[in-house]
């Protein structure tokens, strides 16, 4: 793969979705409330990776592999999706883990956020 910043890619991204999705917990606990402190354990959260114009593609792929354990092809497809669409869901699951993953991505300077699925 060419050593280009993530934002410099022009190749079309392969269709891919975040492959790691934790099963939803049984419905009922916490549903229908806006109180963040209840943690809403049955609502999965998505980790979004945002495109940025300076980070090397290889670097993004490597970080996705390291943080989430993805193989190279999956990590590359997710990186390309973030580039093409501006952001990509790179993981879904429990809120605390999603936040923790965001912080790990942030240690490499990558921009990410979490949001309810």
């Amino acid at each position: 793969m060419a050593l280009l910043p993530m934002g410099a890619v022009t190749a079309p991204a392969a269709a891919v979705t975040a492959p790691v999705v934790e099963p939803r917990a049984a419905p009922g606990t916490g549903a229908g409330t806006d109180d963040q402190d209840t943690h809403e354990p049955d609502v999965p959260y998505d980790v979004f990776l945002w495109n940025d114009p300076v980070t090397l593609m290889d670097m993004v792929v490597r970080v996705l592999s390291k943080v989430f354990g993805y193989d190279g092809a999956t990590a590359q497809a997710l990186m390309l999706r973030a580039h093409r669409e501006g952001k990509a869901v790179v993981w879904s699951g429990e809120r605390e883990r999603a936040t923790s993953y965001c912080m790990r991505l942030g240690r490499y300077g990558l921009q990410s956020t979490v949001a309810k699925s």
Binding site: G7, Q36, Y45, V54, D58, M103, G106, R107, Y108, G109
Partner: protein
């Protein structure tokens, strides 16, 4: 006649990851880290806003505990790497820490310059472009030293 040898910036040896950085590159890394540490003290500045931006899109504002944890995590990253600047031999963990810090300084520098889009990025002046290329070269060298060249991964 001798062929000019090309030294790589980082390579794996039996003892660990060996760095062969020109002094000015070492100083560039050191000064970038100092700059980043100063900028992170100002959470309302461009670097603070970029590196400590709100994580949870669902919440009206980030949990202050999460924000503190993020600041602490970044401080830890910088603290771990600072004593290794100037050394010629790194452990794998230290080299990984260098990759983290290089990503952070790159993001911080681009935030300072107001680079948010590809148009902004390609409009960088020669000096800022040169900075970018030096950081890229170091990142690539460290990735290759840690993981092997792309073909062998």
């Amino acid at each position: 006649m001798r062929r000019r040898s090309r030294r790589t910036l980082a390579r794996r040896t039996a003892a660990g990851i060996e760095l062969a950085l020109p002094d000015w590159v070492t100083e560039l890394v050191r000064s970038s880290l100092d700059e980043l540490r100063r900028d992170l003290v100002l959470p309302g500045g461009p670097v603070g806003r970029r590196l400590l931006a709100q994580l949870d899109e669902s919440a009206p504002s980030d949990d202050p505990v999460v924000t503190l944890m993020r600041q602490h995590t970044l401080d830890e990253t910088l603290d771990a790497i600072e004593p290794t600047i100037g050394r010629q031999l790194l452990t794998d963990d230290e080299a990984e820490g260098w990759l983290e810090v290089l990503g952070l300084v790159l993001t911080a520098r681009m935030a300072q310059l107001g680079v948010r889009t590809e148009v902004d990025r390609w409009a960088l002046n020669r000096s800022d472009e040169a900075y970018l290329q030096v950081v890229y070269a170091l990142q690539v060298a460290l990735m290759h030293a840690l993981d092997g060249p792309p073909a062998s991964r």
